[in-house]
């Protein structure tokens, strides 16, 4: 066999690895080859036929998802591929036309609108005029795939990504195809429920609006939402996610590809865990307890002064949620030192599922250990309490702390002892660094569409309080905080991302 190691795509020569197909090399090099049924994490089906390209010298267009870059053994020259030639474009346009002939075109009420490949490629390849005047094929709609997913067979393009996901990733085989021809549909096993807790990933990989989330259905148009790259704080795996929110509410969370952490996936539990963010008892502004024991809203500055005053009187320890960022935990240590106490963290322990979910529920427990925070295993006194999740810092710990200054997301989590309360953003609302169960440092970015307006980042509040304590603390800003953490011996072999680089995506509004 000739030793061909390159492939020409649109006249440009690219190297390839053994076994790579044309679409893989094209995508690696930033070339946009449309695809529906291709997914880098699943086997190749080659059925949607939208990724067809021209192979020079071949009258028949080929699907680039399956076409190996290595030429057949009897060819000694690199393959020459055209992705934008007349043949390639007309072949793809022909497929597009077929995909739309029975598609309901109900984009105005489809949740996928705005992130739909069918819309995108229709925009690129579609024609201005419908070529079919016959009635569309009617297929089942609003079919429940378990409790969390709704299937629409008319929108479905039968790419089989969902079927292959359940076969290859979860190996639970809940889905298959039924029927033939244009009456083919995806069907669910007779159990009617997914065995896997990863079922909602099929909603993400569905290239069209055939699979929608019962949780997110009809909640919001995507173009009104804000998105930010973050990490899931449901357990210590730290699956990379994209948070989506609008007008202060968190709407959804979807996995973001990270080959080393979660590949393309996340568990349903973590995905749906976000709902605590939207609790009606959210704390939106700082509060100070007046002399007669009544809560009064306060400005941030007044609350900082009140907190500093209360802490000077009380002194003592700091107890933080295991889902706090490295920056917050570091400042908690500084604060505890200033108060003559120790900083500890609290985190729940759950059950590992053998795939992504790990038993450790403190999203940053590994970070806390690196910083040298001890794990709080039983109730103990702490002047400062930081609670993001009830699960990590349960009531017994909260009440047992007898804290005077409390950072909390939910008013229901504020113990009676509190004198000053600060609103604490949920994990979707705070910039910061997390160390996951494998010791990998990851960046969470604040989503401006989620949480109360004008939420002051907790690291700023903590620095301000430290400044007011007259303990000689200099204001660092986030870069300075990260630099201070980086300087610690435990972080000598870990490279923390610069804070500035982490803030870019957050500002999407």
């Amino acid at each position: 066999m000739a030793d061909v190691k390159t492939v020409f795509i649109n006249g440009v020569e690219y190297p390839f690895d053994a076994g790579q197909t044309v679409i893989q090399v094209a995508h690696e090099n930033g070339l946009d080859v449309p695809h529906y049924c291709y997914h880098p994490g699943l086997s190749i089906a080659g059925n949607c036929r939208i990724c067809m390209v021209e192979v020079e010298g071949d009258a028949k267009p080929q699907v680039s998802c399956k076409l190996e870059c290595a030429p057949p053994p009897w060819v000694s020259e690199p393959l020459r591929i055209q992705t934008e030639s007349e043949l390639a474009k007309s072949a793809r346009a022909g497929t597009m036309e077929m995909l739309l002939v029975n598609h309901p075109l109900d984009c105005p009420i489809c949740d996928q609108a705005g992130e739909c490949h069918l819309q995108d490629y229709s925009y690129q390849l579609g024609q201005g005029q419908a070529s079919s005047s016959t009635a569309k094929t009617k297929l089942p709609k609003n079919v429940a795939f378990g409790e969390k997913i709704v299937y629409d067979a008319e929108r479905c393009i039968k790419c089989t990504l969902c079927v292959r996901f359940c076969e290859e990733v979860t190996e639970t085989n809940e889905l298959n195809l039924g029927g033939r021809g244009d009456e083919e549909i995806v069907i669910m096993s007779s159990k009617g429920e997914f065995e896997t807790d990863y079922s909602m990933n099929i909603i993400d990989i569905c290239p069209v609006g055939a699979l929608t989330s019962r949780d997110f259905r009809f909640k919001s148009r995507l173009w009104f939402m804000d998105f930010a790259d973050s990490v899931c704080t449901g357990c210590a795996r730290g699956c990379n996610v994209i948070t989506g929110g609008r007008n202060g509410s968190m709407m959804r969370m979807e996995p973001r590809h990270n080959a080393d952490v979660n590949q393309w996936w996340m568990c349903d539990q973590g995905r749906l865990d976000y709902r605590y963010v939207n609790t009606p008892t959210r704390i939106a502004t700082p509060r100070i307890k007046t002399a007669d024991g009544v809560w009064a809203a306060a400005t941030v500055d007044d609350a900082i002064l009140a907190a500093a005053a209360a802490l000077k009187a009380a002194g003592g320890n700091v107890l933080v949620d295991g889902g706090c960022t490295l920056e917050e935990m570091h400042l908690a240590q500084q604060l505890a030192a200033a108060l003559g106490g120790k900083a500890t963290y609290a985190a729940a322990t759950g059950e590992a599922d053998g795939f992504l979910r790990v038993a450790e529920q403190g999203a940053n427990a590994a970070g806390a250990e690196l910083l040298g925070l001890a794990r709080a295993t039983k109730a103990g006194a702490a002047a400062v309490l930081v609670v993001e999740r009830d699960a990590n810092v349960p009531q017994a710990l909260r009440d047992g702390a007898d804290a005077v200054v409390v950072f909390a997301t939910d008013a229901d989590h504020v113990p009676a002892s509190a004198q000053v309360v600060f609103p604490f953003g949920s994990s979707a609302e705070r910039d910061g660094l997390f160390v996951n169960t494998d010791g990998r440092v990851q960046v969470a970015q604040r989503n401006p569409g989620i949480g109360p307006d004008n939420l002051t980042p907790p690291y700023e509040l903590l620095e301000e309080i430290l400044g007011e304590l007259d303990a000689g603390y200099d204001w660092h800003g986030r870069d300075g905080i990260v630099a201070a953490i980086q300087a610690q011996p435990a972080f000598a072999k870990i490279s923390l991302p610069a804070a500035q680089a982490t803030a870019e995506v957050g500002a999407t509004s």
Partner: protein, 482 residues
Amino acid sequence: MTAKKKAAAKKASTKKASAKKAAAPAKVVRAADGSYPETRILSANFGVKDSWTLPVAKKNGAYKSLEKAIKTMTPAEVIDEVKTSRVRGRGGAGFPTGVKWGFVPTDTDKAKYLVLNADESEPGTFKDRFLMELDPHLVLEGCLLCAYATGLDVIYIYVRGEYPLSIARLEGAIEEAREAGLLGKDILGKKGFNVEAHVHPGAGAYICGEETGMLESLEGKRGHPRIKPPFPAVEGAFGCPTVINNVETLAHVPSIIEHGGAWFGDLGIAPDPDNPRAMGSAGTKLMGLSGDIKTPGCWEFEFGITVRELIEQYGGGALDGRTIKAVIPGGLSMPVLTADELDVPMGFDALVKVGSGLGTATAIVMDDACDMVEACENIAHFFADESCGQCTPCREGCHWMEKIFTRIKAGDGTPADLDLLEHLFVNIEGRTICALADAAVWPLRSILRKFRHEFLAKMPGHADPHAADAKASDAAAPVGAK
């Protein structure tokens, strides 16, 4: 032959002179009266009492070739003999069988399988059924010769589920063969020659006659054709090297081994030395007729008989008072021939040359009472119904075509629909994993082009926008032409 027929034949032969000249000379043994005789090799035992039982089959020479191969030939010699015979696959594609066997790896640790394609789901096709019902031991012997030649372990016979008698006779033959030591361990005393055979009935899907759809079905999965490569010879059933042959193909092998590949190669139509793609049509072939003729049936001929001879001499010609309008020569999936295109030999290359194909060599005849628009609706419906649904162009396109033909039939069509159909043909043919979509397009496109007037006749008040160039349309475009 009547004077009229002779004149017609003469006319046709002048018309096709150029085509015939280029074609390889057909070795045709006609009887003195000009008729084309049957040559019964595969069908030698058809009609013999209890021909499907082992004692009768043995009396007529069954398993002699297997014994000869095992005792006097190496597996490689068997493959060479099959290569020499130039026998081509009888399932429709016409791939050289010996070459296919040669692809099976000899240095593998994996099990090797033969999957005998006995699904015979192509409309109009009923030739393999005769072999399975009347001479199952010939089929089984062919399978065993293939097993010996390629060193395979298990024979799966994937039989059309609607053929209960074929299933019963094959199962009976397997049982008899096992008892006679022709299946199982150390077959015919040959140490290490161990082969098992199983019958696997299909459940009625056309697509399971497609070789990789059949493999999926055999494995207990949905019959979705696989994307190739890997080819079945390397990775077929259960991920192992697999030979897939048609029933009739393997039924030829015993006589090839008995009389030699050269003997077989001398029968039929020789290859064209000037055209490497015209590999000739060696041997004999079961040919069938159905449709608008007096005597439908199945016969065996040396390749060379023309479509017209087959219809006139064996099919009894058109029904009284009717005239033949069109013939699809091989199953349903081939482009149609018009009445004046029938003087072409039933052969792989000759039919391709006139824009059609041999397919399964079981012709469907349509006479002047057949409405070609209705025929198209019927054909489109079949493929739309049988499309497995895997690839977009076939899944959506076949039913779309059917809807258009239905509209034209109802009188609601316009000439723009004919343009739309041509547009769809381009976007369906050659754009899918398997050939079902091609099989749908070929007959439909050829009927639309050759009988365009019938479509326009259903559109009163509409002028044909392409009237001027209608004549120039490539009525005889080669298979696969756009």
